[in-house]
């Protein structure tokens, strides 16, 4: 980021502060760097220039490629000087300049010479610089020296080589792995930091070899580690091993637990903390295992050092989520932390207390928090508000005091995010606790009387429109809503008009009054407000007509079927013409999220801002979509739609996934295509399906996609006929054919001529599970008893070696495509046996129930006993046939 250094107003600033870098300019410094080429070097002066260069880089100034190269070449001249201080600066600037591979060659010989120097400082630093700038081929040349350096008697040199090894493991793992003998020797070093670096490198070299890692950890845990940092590493490795072994060991003593526990008595606090944290994070930790860790953390809570208090309360806060009871012993210490100077600690203490507190302590806590809230920043307040929300869900009886607290803080000063957190919390409470509804709605009404945030006002008005009409006395909200029409900006006014209309629509008694109010709105200065008011008045006027009634109800209360993003794109693409914009033409397919979004860890929005729940279209939507095409309308009732199957790799030019729609005697493939090339427009997009490996299917018709512009998904369909009611299976290979037209990036116009092209997609299979709808039953036992025991078919299968029992259970459930009942899809982490209860509806609407009992022996061989009951015995046989094939 080139950021021009502002030349300060010298006369004024000079008085205030002195800086050797005042008024420094890149050009001048670069000029100064020419002195490096001077045959008579002045080391002190050169050091100063390097410092200036480093200062510029550090302030965010960037050098162009040419400038950097020039500086780099001048700097290499400085290797002639014997001055150690200057040499040290030279090393530093070379690292900062990060020269290109073609330039590196200039310094390698100098650096290699330094690497074998008698001066330790030269050796250590030359290694660090070299390893930072060279590539694999050069590395093999200096490998010999690096191996020597690892076991150098000077710890600084040894550490330099080891840390460089850690960095280079990422780029040249095969070379670094050859050093493991030397690294192993360094682990035994008496220098603490060398031991730490060696251990880190050794573990990374061997991390894929579980046996070697556990042997390494096994030896070291017997107490050969001196450095606290290395001990922390050891604890991390140990807990990783425990995690990996988790499923294998039977109940009883957890291996290595003793080691972790002994670390709680280590003399270094960082080790104690690391061990305590490791224990609290063990899978399925028992309260007996937890106790010693909690005890040391409790001691930390009253430490004079803020970092210790913070670390302890942060860890306890996490423990409180899973084991609230274990933390209650610390409650007294925690309460005293509410007044801690460090507000981060205080907030963590409060939220922990809110998690561990019992019903009786809520009121007392709230009192303490009220005092505390006034002097912390918004971001802390949000954390507290969220904790209170979950507390309220936990103790619904206490909603009164919690709601009061929320409404109080809602009235106080605060930023948008904070206010939104409060409003969201109130909304959640209103939804979860019916008793709190009327009270909560009134609080929200009062809030919008004096709310500076348009977004919150409109959201609350919308919420009022949904909840308000169903309360005992809807009329009391009208005043608040109508006040908005007088006092607010256009956006809020429009929202208020909608809310008024909703009240009028649902509560018949209010209709005349609301009509009067709406009539006043048609003189509003804003056209959107006028439009809405006019529309609603019109709907109210058309009383008798049932048809409009349904439409308007749909308009007011229904949700938009298409995703908002698609709606927006379609509207943008629409050009004003004779033909009106057709809402149905908006693609209903949800666009796959760009990869970047997935990475972003968004907090799950709750309350008002929550987006529509599932991104995948529901069964109903598919049914409606298919029946809208005359070609498919005759196929009868849709039996099942599969979830989308990807037919292309991620990030290819065209992304296609397919949904299989199963009918009684037809199958329709819906290909959802997305064109990800901005320069192209695809036309006449069709999928050619080769069904030669699916004998029972014959192609009936296909429905190509006329046009597929960039980034707006479209669908092509292919329909097949199959024998009625028969669960025919087969494999289909697919080819996408289309005409490509270049799109001019500037005008957005496509060229007239296109080129025919095709694109190979992955194969698609119709499998038995496609004929099974996963319908759950509420009471499996009853359902099972009610089925004809005669229909039961039992058989045993060997499933071979599996990684875990859970994996086998999932595999069987997936093959059958059935619904797990009564929570039997979760397998206890170290269980040796498990029973799954599955239910489903087979094609022909035959109800099927399955009891599958799994067992695992010591070799991880899994066997399964499968009992099937169905309304039709032939279906039971079919299920067994699926399992024996799958």
């Amino acid at each position: 980021m080139a950021q021009p250094l502002v030349k300060k107003d010298d006369d004024f600033e000079d008085e205030l502060e002195f800086s050797p870098f005042l008024g420094i300019e890149k050009g001048a410094v670069l000029q100064e760097a020419r002195f490096f080429n001077d045959p008579q070097l002045d080391p002190r002066r050169c050091s100063q220039v390097i410092t200036k260069l480093l200062y510029l880089l550090n302030q965010g100034e960037s050098f162009t490629k040419i400038e950097a190269t020039e500086v780099f070449f001048s700097v290499t001249k400085l290797f002639q000087s014997k001055d150690t201080g200057l040499r040290r600066m030279v090393y530093l600037i070379i690292k900062e300049l990060s020269p290109g591979s073609d330039e590196v060659i200039i310094v390698t010989s100098s650096l290699m010479k330094d690497m074998n120097s008698k001066i330790d400082m030269y050796r250590a630093n030359a290694i660090r610089v070299l390893c930072r700038i060279i590539d694999g081929t050069l590395l093999t040349q200096i490998e010999r020296y690096l191996k020597q350096a690892i076991v150098d008697k000077n710890p600084v040199v040894s550490s330099a080589a080891l840390v460089s090894g850690l960095h280079m493991l990422k780029t040249n793992p095969e070379i670094v792995k050859r050093w493991s003998n030397e690294v192993q020797e360094a682990v035994q070093s008496r220098a603490p930091l060398v031991q730490f670096h060696a251990l880190a490198l050794l573990h990374e070299i061997r991390q894929n070899d579980r046996l070697a890692v556990s042997k390494l950890v096994g030896t070291l845990t017997r107490g050969a580690v001196r450095s606290p940092l290395a001990q922390c590493l050891l604890i991390r490795y140990t807990s990783q091993i425990i995690r990996d072994m988790g499923n294998h060991s039977q109940s009883g003593e957890r291996p290595f637990y003793d080691f972790l526990e002994s670390c709680l008595r280590h003399k270094a606090e960082m080790v104690i903390l690391e061990a305590a944290r490791a224990i609290t994070e063990l899978d399925g930790v028992s309260s007996r295992e937890l106790t010693p860790a909690i005890t040391v953390l409790q001691l930390f809570l009253s430490s004079p050092k803020p970092v210790l208090r913070f670390a302890a309360v942060r860890t306890l806060n996490k423990v409180a989520m899973t084991h609230p009871m274990a933390v209650t012993n610390c409650n007294i210490d925690m309460e005293s932390l509410i007044s801690d100077q460090n507000r981060s600690i205080a907030t963590l203490a409060i939220t922990t207390l809110l998690k561990t507190g019992n019903e009786s302590s809520v009121e007392r806590l709230m009192k303490q928090i009220t005092n505390f809230m006034s002097d912390i920043a918004d971001e802390f307040k949000i954390v507290v508000v969220e904790a209170i929300r979950s507390l309220c869900v936990k103790f619904p009886l206490k909603y009164r005091s919690l709601m009061n607290f929320l409404s109080n803080i809602l009235r106080e000063e605060g930023g948008f995010e904070y206010k939104r957190a409060i409003v969201d919390s109130i909304v959640t409470i209103i939804r979860d606790i019916p008793d709190a509804k009327e009270n909560g709605l009134l609080h929200l009404c009062e809030f919008i009387e004096d709310c500076e945030f348009t977004y919150l006002s409109t959201q609350i008005l919308h919420f009022l429109g949904i909840e308000g009409p169903h309360t005992t006395d809807p009329s009391k909200y009208i005043r608040y809503i109508y006040n908005r029409v007088h006092l607010e900006n256009a956006t809020v006014r429009a929202a208020a008009v909608c809310t008024l209309a909703k009240f009028g629509f649902i509560v018949e008694a209010l209709k005349p009054r609301i009509t009067v109010l709406l009539k006043r709105c048609i003189y509003d200065s804003d056209d959107e407000v006028r439009d809405r008011a006019t529309l609603f008045l019109c709907i109210f006027g058309n009383d008798g007509l049932v048809e409009t009634d349904k439409d308007s109800r749909e308009y007011l209360f229904g949700s938009l079927e298409a995703p908002l993003v698609n709606m927006e794109t379609s509207l943008k693409n629409y050009e004003p013409s004779e033909v009106a914009f057709d809402v149905d033409s908006v693609p209903k397919e949800v666009k796959s999220q760009p990869l970047g979004d997935k990475k972003a860890k968004g907090k799950k929005p709750t309350g008002l801002g929550a987006p529509p729940p599932a991104p995948v279209l529901g069964f109903d939507a598919y049914e409606r979509l298919l029946s809208s095409f005359p070609e498919f309308a005759t196929f009868g009732k849709l039996f099942k739609s599969s979830s989308p199957v990807e037919l292309t790799e991620a990030e290819t030019e065209y992304s296609v996934n397919v949904v299989k729609h199963i009918f009684e005697s037809h199958v329709v493939f819906q290909y959802n295509c997305t064109n990800t090339v901005p320069e192209q427009l695809l036309e006449r997009v069709n999928v050619i399906v080769d069904a030669s490996e699916a004998e029972e299917f014959s192609e009936l018709s296909s429905k190509p996609l006329n046009s597929l512009p960039y980034d707006s998904p479209g669908q092509a369909f292919v329909a097949f006929e199959k024998p009625e009611g028969v669960p025919a299976v087969g494999k289909f290979s697919n080819t996408l054919t289309f005409i490509v037209k270049e799109v001019d990036q500037n005008t957005g116009e496509a060229e007239d001529d296109g080129v025919e092209d095709e694109y190979q997609l992955e194969d698609l299979g119709v499998v038995p599970a496609d004929y099974m709808v996963n319908v759950g039953v509420s009471n499996f036992r009853n359902a099972w008893e009610n089925m004809d025991p005669e229909s039961e078919l039992v058989d045993e299968y060997g499933l071979g070696q599996r990684e875990s029992l859970a994996e086998a259970v999932k595999a069987v459930t997936d093959v059958l495509g059935m619904q797990s009942c009564e929570g039997t899809e979760t397998v206890a982490s170290n269980a040796r046996s498990h029973t799954s209860l599955l239910s489903g509806l087979y094609i022909g609407n035959v109800k099927v129930l399955v009891k599958a009992q799994f067992g695992m022996d010591s070799e991880k061989e899994i066997s399964m006993k499968l009992a099937v009951r169905a309304d039709d015995q032939s279906v039971s046989e079919a299920i067994h046939a699926i399992v024996s094939c799958g």
Binding site: M1, Q3, E17, S19, P20, F21, P43, R44, S47, Q48, I50, T51, L54, Y55, N58, Q59, G60, K82, D83, T84, G85, L86, R88, M89, L92, K95, I119, M121, R132, V156, S159, V163, S164, L166, H167, L193, A200, H203, E204, L229, C232, L233, R236, Y237, Q240, E269, M270, L273, E274, R277, K305, P306, V307, L308, F310, A311, R314, Q341, N342, S344
Partner: protein, 177 residues
């Protein structure tokens, strides 16, 4: 998976939150604008706290930040939210004490700017690409504080001047107490 402790950045800011020296070891803040924004948030969040006697700590944007202030200088060390705070604190303490040794007890902005080379070297000796290289202040100061003398210069002279410097330092310290 890398399990070793990682430091995301080291910052040295002045009393207005302006950068004196900073070193970033991860791509969490890819541009200078992002870096400056981060420094600004960190500074405004911590400036009112009293971190002059003990190392203080706070959490920000899924990071743990430990910090300590002296005069008009603000030292910060940032790590990920899973990081052991005490390891970060030991890095900070190492940096803090090493700078104190190198600046001979006169730790303020002016002195830091005058000896910025030493500060840069100090950073370089504490963390290497995010990995903790050394936390012992004496070792760091020794490695960073190489005197700009020709190694061929008479050794005796060097040691005498060093001894004098140490003596002076001890004297000023005891006087300041």
């Amino acid at each position: 998976m890398e399990l070793h402790p990682k430091v995301k950045n080291i910052l040295l800011l002045d009393s207005e939150g302006k950068r004196i020296a900073a070193k970033y070891y991860t791509d969490d803040w890819p541009t200078n604008t992002a870096k400056e924004a981060f420094e600004k948030t960190v500074f405004s969040k911590t400036k009112k706290t009293n971190a002059r006697t003990e190392v203080e700590v706070t959490a920000l944007e899924n990071n743990i930040i430990v910090y300590k202030f002296v005069q008009d200088l603000h030292f910060y060390v940032t790590g990920g939210e899973e990081e052991n705070e005490l390891i970060l604190a030991s890095v900070l303490q190492g940096l803090f004490d090493a700078v104190n040794l190198l600046l001979r007890g006169n730790v303020d902005k002016r002195e830091a700017l005058d000896n910025l080379d030493l500060i840069f070297l100090c950073f370089d000796e504490i963390i290497d690409g995010g990995i903790v290289l050394e936390t012992d202040a004496n070792v760091i100061a020794e490695k960073a504080g190489i005197n700009s003398f020709d190694p061929n210069a008479p050794l005796s002279e060097q040691t005498i001047s060093q001894a004098l410097a140490t003596a002076r330092e001890h004297l000023t310290r005891s006087l300041m107490k």
